[in-house]
């Protein structure tokens, strides 16, 4: 009798398990793979009538061939579908497959240079003074899901949003000198600038802030709606948007350009690099970013292809020039000569990345090829320390608690010890770390190790070290008026060579400050199934819609 009670406990347990699984498993009705369905229910009901697929009887499938699906990893869950609020590369990677720009960067399996091609435009021409850019759109480009034809009004809407104070886009700087967009006729318009803006052609038009969104759709759903749904003109249509689980885009049969190779792209968010590598090895994703430490392992394995690129980033050890311990330039020189950067690079990246000597990466306008190459010199370091009237010194380095920066800090600690400087290493979680330089508390920063990313324009790097960035992102608290005015000059100068020289001058000022110890530009590495033919920019940005297969 009583035994039955125990038995019934087990039965109840099993029943509950099944009861839990079944609804989760059966939840929302599965979407048939070949009907493009608008992702957000609200949008679906409000969307104006239909380029919805006709009933299956009208269009017999030519062949019930297996759809070609590319499954890729996003390294974090996607945050937004609105280009004006992009948080990370993972947002752009999805947006790129659905939206177009007026012009975009060409991508390929092994690109060498940044080259623009006409994306939505037939022609686009800047005026002599760079203040007016006249564009002529392709005719007959249709918005997804029946939102009509692309017109110059859409371009006007997409760009002028950035000026909207109410919207308060964090990317308003990309359109810093935009005055307005003039619509001439249905397909023609003019972008009018109040001042010339050199980064426009490099990091505004061909990147996120250059994406064109549907005015009609945006007005219909409002700014909130744009974070969760997207109507574009691109080769893929958004078909499923579950940011924590899966994002699916499906081929747009009416795409104006060349049809993409894959019928569907599935984006799966996997936070952890190691987990993503296992997923690749288990065959569950076909393409992922990999950690520097895994490059060799995948290169040695014939089952995978690997691509590595010099990243668009710059990593350095920063010295706060306002901190009383570091305000004497001799102390900063002592540290610069004490550090063995080559060892740091070797120990951290194990051959996967090269040492850097400047802020701007090679290949970009403004890269200072003749920058001085500081080698470790303990005697010189001691001399500088003596010049500062010191024999020993206690310092602290704040780092993000990651293997990369821990390795840097450990080597630095050893190096400095030999010249009489005791270094305390202070590892912090990302949230805490990214705040250390804020406002007046930033004065307490001594040394820090950090990495900044950038776009393919030098002003993206230099803008963070202006005087007005002290207490914001300029944690060195190094303020140089000449540097500031050169930066302003660079942004408004259109001649490439002049800009290059301006930036080299700026790098010289940075070097004189002795407050930056450059480590590397880093590497972006990707591993993928050998039958996947990827498409990258020269610095390893990925264009999934241009992927093909073998």
């Amino acid at each position: 009798m009583k035994n039955r009670k125990c038995m019934s406990l087990f039965l109840i347990a099993i029943a509950i398990t099944l009861a839990l699984i079944l609804p989760a498993g059966c939840g929302p009705t599965p979407q048939p793979a070949d009907t493009p369905v608008p992702p957000a229910e609200e949008a679906a009901t409000e969307a104006p009538a239909p380029t919805e697929p006709p009933s299956p009887t009208d269009t017999p499938e030519p062949e019930a061939a297996e759809p070609k699906i590319l499954i890729v990893r996003l390294y974090e869950r996607i945050q937004t579908l609105d280009p004006a609020f992009v948080v990370g590369v993972y947002d752009s990677q999805v947006q790129n497959t659905v939206l177009n720009r007026l012009v975009s960067y060409d991508t390929g399996p092994d690109p060498r240079e940044y080259e623009l091609y006409n994306d939505l435009v037939e022609s686009i021409e800047p005026s002599e003074d760079g203040l007016e850019i006249t564009f002529k759109l392709r005719e007959g480009v249709m918005w997804h899901r029946g939102y009509g034809e692309l017109t110059a009004e859409d371009v006007k809407f997409s760009y002028e949003r950035y000026l909207d104070e109410e919207l308060d886009s964090p990317y308003a700087d990309d359109w810093a000198t935009l005055d307005h967009v003039e619509v001439i006729d249905k397909y023609t318009g003019k972008i009018i600038l109040s001042e010339p803006f050199a980064p426009l052609w490099k990091t505004t038009l061909p990147i996120d802030s250059g994406h064109i969104i549907s005015k009609k759709f945006a007005e219909e759903v409002g700014p909130e709606g744009l974070t969760n749904d997207m109507v574009g003109t691109g080769p893929y249509v958004l078909a499923k948007f579950e940011p924590t689980e899966l994002v699916v885009v499906k081929r747009n049969p009416d795409y104006f350009g060349e049809q993409p190779y894959y019928d569907e792209i599935h984006f799966i968010p996997i936070d952890d690099d190691k987990a993503a590598e296992i997923a690749l090895e288990a065959g569950e994703v076909q393409f992922t970013r990999i950690s520097d430490a895994s490059i060799q392992r995948f290169q040695d394995n014939p089952d995978y292809a690997v691509s590595t690129f010099p990243a668009l980033a710059y990593k350095w050890i920063g010295l706060n020039v306002e901190n009383p311990k570091l305000e004497d330039p001799n102390v900063r020189q002592a540290i610069r000569y004490a550090v063995d950067v080559d060892s740091i690079v070797m120990a951290t990246y194990m051959g996967a990345a090269e040492r850097e000597y400047t802020m701007i990466p090679p290949g970009l306008t403004g890269h200072w090829a003749d920058a001085p190459r500081y080698e470790r010199d303990v005697e010189k370091a001691k001399e500088y320390l003596a010049k500062a009237g010191l024999e020993s010194l206690d310092l602290r380095i704040d780092i993000e608690d990651e293997t990369e920066y821990r390795t840097w800090a450990e080597i630095l600690q050893q190096n400095l010890k030999e010249v009489g400087i005791n270094l305390e290493v202070n590892p912090l979680d990302p949230g805490s770390f990214w705040e250390i330089g804020d406002g007046d508390q930033g004065k307490n920063v001594e040394l820090y190790a950090i990495s900044y990313g950038m776009g393919p324009d030098p002003s993206w790097a230099t803008m963070w070290f202006l005087c007005n960035q002290v207490g914001v992102w300029n944690w060195n608290r190094w303020c140089n008026e000449e540097f500031d005015s050169l930066h302003q000059e660079s942004v408004t100068t259109l001649d490439e060579e002049t800009r290059h020289n301006i930036h080299v001058e700026m790098e010289k000022l940075v070097d004189e400050s002795a407050s930056f110890i450059w480590i590397t530009h880093g590497t972006s590495a990707f591993a993928y199934a050998p039958n996947v033919v990827p498409a990258f920019t020269p610095n390893g940005d990925v264009d999934f819609h241009r992927f093909s297969g073998e």
Partner: protein
């Protein structure tokens, strides 16, 4: 009994309020700004302010707590400031995955751990008992994420017979179960060992009781004594542990969900903590805390079921 339940309900509310207050205070103590953590350099001061105000972070703690609890009472966990998605939806999608994982693991642990424990106690110091002991202790001491990685490498990467990541295709129950196997084993394993040890110890203790000796003297079969009289009493401490265990499994699920990229509560809260997305952290932790309290209540109620001598709420425990 009704008085007891009322008391427990009041306690639950109190726990919820305390958790909320604690989390709101935590926001004040822990450094890191949500907008800056998420947007990096792009977070302009004005935008940072806007995000802070949308998250109520610019208001005093008691206002934050009041606003939040008021909304919760109306069944609204809030809105994610960055994605504009309702947190109810986020939690609603994530919670089933975690509940299923925790529940399946617990069921697995019970189904394997208890028979092992009983067998060990029935044959103390036999070779089977010793082997069980070795395995139990190994399972208990191996960290869950290590087990998870091993399982992944063996079954997903080498043998390629089970999937490595995600929760399976929506609407496909078989696929869902396949995706559940490795994570639930990884999560269950240390509990298998733990339960086996626990049952063995408490069963041995019960077997020394006089009423068991009396039963033996009366000539009842060993099997009957073991399963009918001894096990039920030995079960009581285990049930208490299981109640807390379900809560700790929800915690352990964080690692497992991150490793297996399962879109559950663990991943949701983990991401939110890393991004300092406080409204999600607050709502997520509140839901987990609530479940924890409920699991404990159920465990308490199960005592009376197993042993009617225990009367809840009358101070006789």
């Amino acid at each position: 009994m009704r008085a007891y339940l009322l008391k427990r309900a009041a306690m639950t509310v109190l726990v919820m309020v305390l958790v909320t207050v604690f989390l709101s205070l935590l926001v004040q103590i822990v450094p890191g700004d949500p907008a800056k953590t998420l947007l990096g350099f792009r977070a302009k001061p004005k935008y940072v302010e806007r995000v802070r105000s949308a998250m109520d972070l610019d208001k005093p703690v008691w206002v934050q707590v009041r606003n939040f609890l008021w909304k919760v009472l109306h069944g609204d966990l809030g809105t994610d400031v960055f994605t504009n998605r309702s947190i109810n939806d986020l939690v609603g999608r994530a919670l089933p995955h975690t509940l299923i994982l925790a529940w399946t693991s617990m069921t697995l642990a019970v189904l394997i751990g208890i028979p092992l424990g009983v067998h060990s106690a029935a044959h103390p110091d036999s070779w089977a008992d010793r082997i069980t002991a070795i395995f139990s202790i190994s399972f208990i001491t191996t960290p869950t994420f290590v087990v998870a990685l091993f399982l992944l490498l063996i079954f997903a990467v080498q043998l390629k017979i089970l999937p490595a990541i995600g929760a399976g295709k929506e609407g496909d129950v078989v696929d869902y179960i396949r995706h559940l196997i490795l994570p639930s084993i990884a999560l269950a394993l240390s509990w298998v060992g733990y339960l086996a040890r626990l049952i063995r110890t408490s069963l041995l203790e019960v077997l020394n009781e006089t009423y068991i000796r009396a039963a033996m003297a009366a000539g009842l079969s060993r099997r009957l004594i073991l399963y009918k009289y001894a096990l039920k009493n030995a079960f009581i401490p285990t049930v208490a542990i299981l109640g807390i265990g379900l809560g700790s499994l929800m915690g352990g699920a964080v690692f497992i969900e991150v490793i297996f990229s399962r879109p559950g509560m663990g991943t949701l809260i983990y991401d939110a903590v890393m991004q300092r997305n406080y409204p999600i952290v607050r709502a997520g932790v509140l839901v987990v805390a609530f479940l924890f309290v409920v699991a404990n209540l159920l465990a308490d109620l199960a005592y009376t079921y197993l042993d009617p001598r225990i009367q809840l709420g009358k101070g006789q425990r």
